[in-house]
């Protein structure tokens, strides 16, 4: 309620400031014919900015310190002997009761003699401070407004000033993207460092057993945190996914870009790209419910023991998810190969498939490899499909028909719902995250570099 009043008053103040600047800047033109540098809108905006900044600073100060001031005022209303008799929780309770009396809501039970008076004085104190803060903010705003107004002359470069403010705001916005990266790196590195104070990096990166113990077990025995079982699981699933996605995606891209009639392409291309927009949790549901049992039955027919949640299930479903990614990137890249190369092969009588295999693909290879690397980095970082379909069995083994676990699955398992980052049990999530981040970062940088080189080659 109060914030609505404040926002409303602020808006009114801004409107008034804009209007004053607008009107004032129009004055000089009519009186002595001097050309005004900036249009009235800019004078108005400049005045609005001048008004807004001090008012917001005052409000911000109150928002930061106001709570403490009100609290100490409330404590001062409680008789000292009562205060000394209460512990921290009792004091908080007493303050809350007084606040409830002040808000008019009332409290249950007997009123202590001082409470009603304290509630009443708190009520008038709140009203008073609220009015004071509004008045101070308004005074600061109006003061700045008057000062800025007095500076309006025909040669005031109001437009340049407003544009400078706008540029600074734009710069601040683009700094957020940088800060995000800094935040990611800083939080991963600091928390991972804390993890490595518990577990040595050698045991983490080269350990072959993943067996974190709960924090409630014997103190000092944290369990084993070997990365290798998770890494092999991640790689196994990514390889299976690429084995599914690359042939299908690449052939689909070749057909669409080289063979398909324009009309077919216009319909088929968007339909093939639909899976890219489907949330991964949907694939994650689909994998163990439909694909897993199907694979198990097929395996049963040929005598292979395939478990319903396995590296194979997760890999195949992830491959399906990645197909549109590969096909649309490869399609783009094939279309960038100059037509002259293709025509040069058609001239001596090469068939279309010979042209594609011997001319187009070799020419497009770097770009396609870049696309594959981007797809691999996506597969490594994918979470929901593997959480639901990989079987969560962090054991070092090479059989893709059995359940495995991955880096992302372990992050989810170790960190879900746990925010007390005290022991290695939860901190390991950040070490795993750092590993994941570095892996995908290298793949991405390398892939983007290759793709960029490829584009420059044919420009």
């Amino acid at each position: 309620m109060n914030s609505f009043i404040i926002a409303g008053l602020l808006l009114v103040l801004l409107g008034v400031a804009y209007q004053i600047g607008w009107t004032k800047s129009r004055g000089p033109v009519t009186t002595n014919g001097v050309k005004v540098h900036s249009r009235p809108q800019y004078h108005g905006s400049l005045l609005a900015i001048w008004t807004l900044v001090p008012a917001v600073i005052v409000l911000g100060l109150w928002a930061y310190f106001g709570g403490d001031i009100t609290r100490s005022f409330t404590v001062a209303q409680i008789p000292t002997d009562v205060v000394t008799s209460l512990d921290q929780m009792g004091l908080n309770g007493a303050i809350q009761r007084i606040q409830q009396i002040a808000s008019g809501y009332g409290v249950t039970g007997e009123l202590a003699p001082y409470e009603q008076a304290a509630g009443d004085s708190l009520r008038s104190f709140q009203l008073l401070t609220f009015l004071c803060v509004i008045a101070a903010a308004a005074a600061a705003g109006i003061g700045a407004l008057l000062y800025a107004r007095s500076r309006i002359t025909p040669c005031l470069r109001a437009r340049n000033m407003v544009e400078q403010v706008v540029t600074v705001l734009l710069l601040a916005c683009s700094a957020i993207a940088i800060l995000t990266t800094v935040g990611i790196v800083a939080s991963l590195v600091t928390e991972a460092y804390r993890f490595f104070t518990f577990i040595s990096p050698l045991d983490f990166f080269f350990g072959t057993v993943w067996n974190p113990k709960f924090s409630s077990t014997v103190a000092g025995d944290y369990g084993q945190y070997g990365l290798l079982p998770l890494l092999t699981g991640t790689l196994m699933i990514s390889i299976i996914a690429m084995l599914v996605a690359v042939p299908v995606g690449l052939m689909a891209a070749i057909y669409l870009s080289q063979y398909a009639p324009r009309k077919v392409r216009a319909v088929v291309k968007p339909v093939i790209e639909i899976p890219a927009g489907i949330p991964t949790i949907v694939y994650g549901f689909f994998a163990p419910v439909t694909v897993g049992p199907f694979l198990r039955d097929v395996g049963g027919l040929v005598g292979l023991p395939i478990s319903a949640t396995s590296a194979l299930t997760a890999g195949i479903v992830m491959g399906i998810m990645i197909i549109p990614f590969i096909s649309s990137l490869s399609d783009d890249i094939l279309n960038q190969v100059p037509l002259a190369l293709r025509d040069g092969a058609f001239g001596p009588g090469a068939t279309q498939s010979e042209t594609i295999r011997n001319v187009l693909l070799p020419a497009a290879l770097p770009g396609i490899v870049g696309a594959f690397l981007l797809a691999v980095s996506r597969a490594i970082g994918e979470t929901m499909i593997v959480v639901l379909a990989a079987g969560n069995s962090p054991v070092l083994r090479g059989n893709p028909l059995e359940p495995v676990s991955t880096i992302t699955v372990s992050i989810v398992n170790q960190l879900t719902g746990d925010t007390d980052f005290a022991g290695p049990q939860s901190l390991v999530g950040f070490a795993l995250g750092l590993t994941l981040f570095v892996m995908t970062l290298c793949l991405n940088v390398f892939a983007l570099y290759i793709v960029r080189r490829f584009r420059e080659q044919y420009e």
């Binding site: 249009r39 009332g106 409290v107 437009r159 544009e163 540029t167 734009l170 710069l171 916005c173 683009s174 993207a177 940088i178 935040g183 990611i184 939080s187 991963l188 600091t190 928390e191 299908v248 995606g249 052939m251 689909a252 070749i254 057909y255 063979y259 088929v268 339909v271 093939i272 639909i274 899976p275 927009g277 949330p279 949790i281 949907v282 694939y283 994650g284 549901f285 439909t290 399906i320 197909i323 498939s353 010979e354 594609i356 996506r378 490594i380 970082g381 979470t383 992302t408 992050i411 989810v412 960190l415 879900t416 719902g417 925010t419 980052f421 999530g429 995250g433 994941l436 995908t440 991405n444």
Partner: protein, 467 residues
Amino acid sequence: MTDIIPTGHRATLERAKLIRAGLGRRHLQERLFKGFGMAAIALALGFVALLFADVLTKGLPAFTQSNLRLSVTYDPEVIGVDPAPVRAAGQSDADFRAANLKWQRDVALLNWNKVVEASLRAAAPADYEIDSRQILTIAETNARHQIRDLFVADPSLLGKTVTVDVLASANADNWIKGNIDRELGDAQQQLSPAARGLIDQFKANGTISSGFSRSIFTNVDSRAAPAAAGLAGAFMGSFYMMLVVIILAVPIGVASAIYLEEFAPKSRLTDLIEVNINNLAAVPSIVFGLLGAAVFINYLHLPLSAPLVGGLVLTLMTLPTIIIATRGALQGVSPALRQAALGMGASRTQMVFHHVLPVTFPSILTATIIGVAQALGETAPLLLIGMNAFVASVPATPLDQATALPVQIYLWQANENRNFFEARTSAAILVLLGFMILLNAIAIFLRTRLEKRIREGPRNGHARRQG
């Protein structure tokens, strides 16, 4: 001389023969290659079709649900409770609330199962033998709360008989829909033989009827009463998060794209920023979850499970998408427009904001909607900031505990009552996919509409704008 021509001729003929001999093989290869291409397309399309067919066949049945129509008698013998408190003059809000709460507690302590049981027995054939524990398994456990809430809202119902629609239990629903094999032995069935028989009789005499399942849309998640579990809470959670994403990601994303594309001096630093943003777009989503857990939860002490925090994490995730798309759109604006504006004496800022930006509006809008759709389906980062908690209420503000639609799917697919929740999870997936399709359709619609308007030339609005 005479020798040479035949020799050359012969060589050509032989080459032609050789080529013709190889043609069959080469054409076969060509057909095979083309066939592989078509097979790949068919396979890719087949996967899409299979996925949708699977989710649809599993999910559509969950939109109908079995309802029980019961005549409930509020028997004074069972409901022995004081009349509801009336507000006395001069009573404070707090006192009245305390008295009211006490009354509601008394009401809640009554044995409402007896009322439910009596109404079920009234609907059953006169001498049907079934014990009270078994008969109660037919109605969902929230039936007693529903009947109690009717009484709390209107205490004058005491002694009257009203018709109430309650949900049949999840197990009863499975039995009716055939989700559980009817031939299985008693040991594997969830319901006793007497209860199953009674359900069939209820079905025959019309006490149980199947209707559209409103509970999916209007109820919150429930553990005790699976048949009453719904998406309302998750929907509001997702709604608040998308609100935060739209309010923060769009202005910040567009502003930084404008800065990088139009204002930033071309230098090492801007190159670095560009590489950084491209990489940020490819960082796995779970890493953003780690960032949220470490910075927002652990360092800034924002509340766990709050849509505000989820929205912030998703905002950081969506930013690169919007920045990259907006930059692409800005790059695509014809240089003629810029030069014309600058030539007329517009400053750089005026050129960007008055002339370039309005033209790119459709692309920015499309990118925004696609980014929001992406954020809507994201699950992994939300698990790390506690949004997978069980929340049985609709969040009133973005700071309350909540789940989100994709997280609700994650929670439901893990429910042990698989026969029932497989269908309900698929239904939740259909709702989520419905929202995604809706968002994308809006994007396409707006895009075509706005592009048409821009092609047709500026109307009143743009024409009057001046520096």
